[in-house]
């Protein structure tokens, strides 16, 4: 079942696989640099105290993204 949704909607403690990036330019490169490319497994670890920023486990490192940036990453289960 290939149901695509943005990474920002991944709930805490759940994992998903990156399908594609839907942004261009700077942000795309930035996301690729930290290891978000198609096929990468990402686990959602924790939301910041009042929402918004979320910490993800990406290739062994914990990286926090703002929700509107995480929207640029399409993932599937």
């Amino acid at each position: 079942m290939d149901f695509l949704y943005p990474l920002s909607r991944l709930s805490v403690n759940k994992s998903a696989t990156v399908h594609s990036l839907i942004c261009g330019g700077e942000m795309r490169r930035r996301l690729q640099d930290i290891g978000i490319t198609a096929g990468t497994k990402i686990q959602c670890l924790q939301k910041s105290p009042y929402g918004d920023m979320t910490a993800y486990l990406i290739r062994g490192a914990v990286i926090a993204l703002r929700s509107e940036d995480a929207e640029n990453v399409l993932v599937c289960n």
Binding site: D33, T37, P49, Y50, A61, L65, R66
Partner: protein
Amino acid sequence: MGLTNSSTGINSIGADLHIIKKHPGDITVALAGNPNVGKSTIFNKLTGMHQHTGNWPGKTVTNAVGTCSSGCTNFIFADIPGTYSLIPHSAEEETARDFICFGEPDAVVIVCDACTLERNLNLVLQTLELHPRSIVCVNLMDEAAKKGITLDLAALSERLGVPVVPTSARSGRGVNKLLRAIESAVRCDSSALEIKYPDIIEEAVSIVQTAIESRAGTKINPRWLALRLLGNDTSLIRSYNSYIKFSITEDAAVKAALEKAGAILKENGITEERFSDIIVSSIVDTAEDICKTVVSYSNPSYNARDRKIDKILTGKYTAFPVMLIMLGVIFWITITGANYPSELLSDLLMGAESYIFSFLSLLKIPPAICNMLCSGVYRTLAWIVSVMLPPMAIFFPLFTLLEDLGLLPRIAFNLDKYFKKCCACGKQALTMCMGFGCNAAGVVGCRIIDSPRERLIAMITNSFVPCNGRFPILIAIITMFFSGNNLYSSLILLAVIVTGILLTFLVSFMLSKTILKGQPSSFTLELPPFRRPQIGSVIVRSLLDRTIFVLGRAVMVAAPAGLIIWLLANVSVGGMSILSHIHTFLDLFGRLLGMDGVILLAFILGMPANEIVIPIIMMSYMATGTLSPFENLIELKSMLVANGWTWVTAVSTMLFTLVHWPCTTTLLSVKKETGSFKWTVAAFAIPTILGFLICFLFASIARLF
């Protein structure tokens, strides 16, 4: 966190790019790597220098250069800012990229974190494409072992085609091996791994590569340059053009080849974006493939403990209370701990004054000059050493411990929501924290913020957190006027700091709605694993460095200021000392702000270093003949009260300490970082006007009661 001149922005920018060799046989080495993998720790171990280290990405924002010798070889190392890739996003990453690309190092050591090798290999593979003469240093081996991560480094070295050296830099293990590896690597040619891209890309690359090779003086790996030209990496091409002093894209052969290659790519439906994607994913896939054979995990839940700590530090109900309590505890330790050394030093130093005076008199120095040296210069110095130094020397190491532990990025994570509301960058929390050490260092640290607009906001608002020089002023006033109890004092201090942080938000918000309009830009924030701080070395280092730094500044600034004050107080014009003339002139304005002319003058004269504000106040009052020399805070209080200080004066002075013009070092850093006179003026004017406004409002309201 600024300890030395080199990190306060005075000498930091000069270290960019070219390293000058002392002897032709010297080996220049660039220490590259992802952020927060321990480059600075390795650098310190190698060179014996004391670059500040801390557990958060973005701590090093400028190149630092140091030397070390082994046998008869002399190595020159450059510690460059951490970067995730050779395609930079921010000024500090550009510094790193430009040095690796155009700094012409003899060798590049790419430092990796053993725990996140796969992500680190991204930079390794990119660097190998450019610099086959590289050495991979896998650092934090001890941490990986603890987490049950095993690495087959022989296999890694074989795959990459370059030497791989394991190190645990904190304990110094492997560092000597690294030196030997560098030495042998520069002497022989390596066969570094070359990434194979899909055929169509290779075809395009080879067309451009041939054209570049035909052109003399291109100085750089042609295959790598071809890839960058095809990917239209504009910032790199710009740097490259200024490096080779002509425009590569203007070269007829290269231009034609680029057009030809571009047409082939286009025919196959490969746009510029698609091209970059393919390059990136080829590299990432290679890294993933290598790690499959190199890395093995024996404990899949190796970071469970970190996650548990994070649940508390960044949890919905616990984050803010925990942060405040931690800050409060630090203040309490600082205030309590500073009492004893403070008293001891003041007894010692003030007691010595009379001896110095008699000694100077013995030398047949005129009494006027003896007086000037003793009550002017010496007393200022003694005050700074006994009252200002102890809190600084305690607060700073404590704060460094938290920094080493990995707490700062968590604070940024917690506060990001509010920075976002202010249309600012969450990393501003990091530069704000650096401001606690030194605002000038905080301003330079703003390089970690990518967007120029957000960087300006962070620079202008940095002085709203009191630096180490202003901290003791706050502590002294609180102790004298509001509480004899250390716990209450800490709480009041905490309230003052929180006020400063709230002002940071308020001003950031107002700036982004007015002169620095814009949307919040995107950024990524790495939360590093918690690391046990190197307690012993942190305390020793920051104590020593801080003491030397503060004393150095005191001698440079306080002594002359003491002299000036003494002269002003003792030279009379029209029957009144010059000092009194200035006081009278400033007095009305000072009183409007809830203070008086003396205090205002002290802040003006204290501009080079806020440490001297209280000594100047003290000397000015003494010069007007009100009281004999003080020996402790209680005596100082009675002197202040005798000069008309009330609780309103105390609060106003505290508010003004928190919000007034930044010190000259900070302003110079702003000028250097922005290159703009206009923004330097803004960085001066905004806190100044705000300080006047706040003090005026407070004093007016207080007068009503």
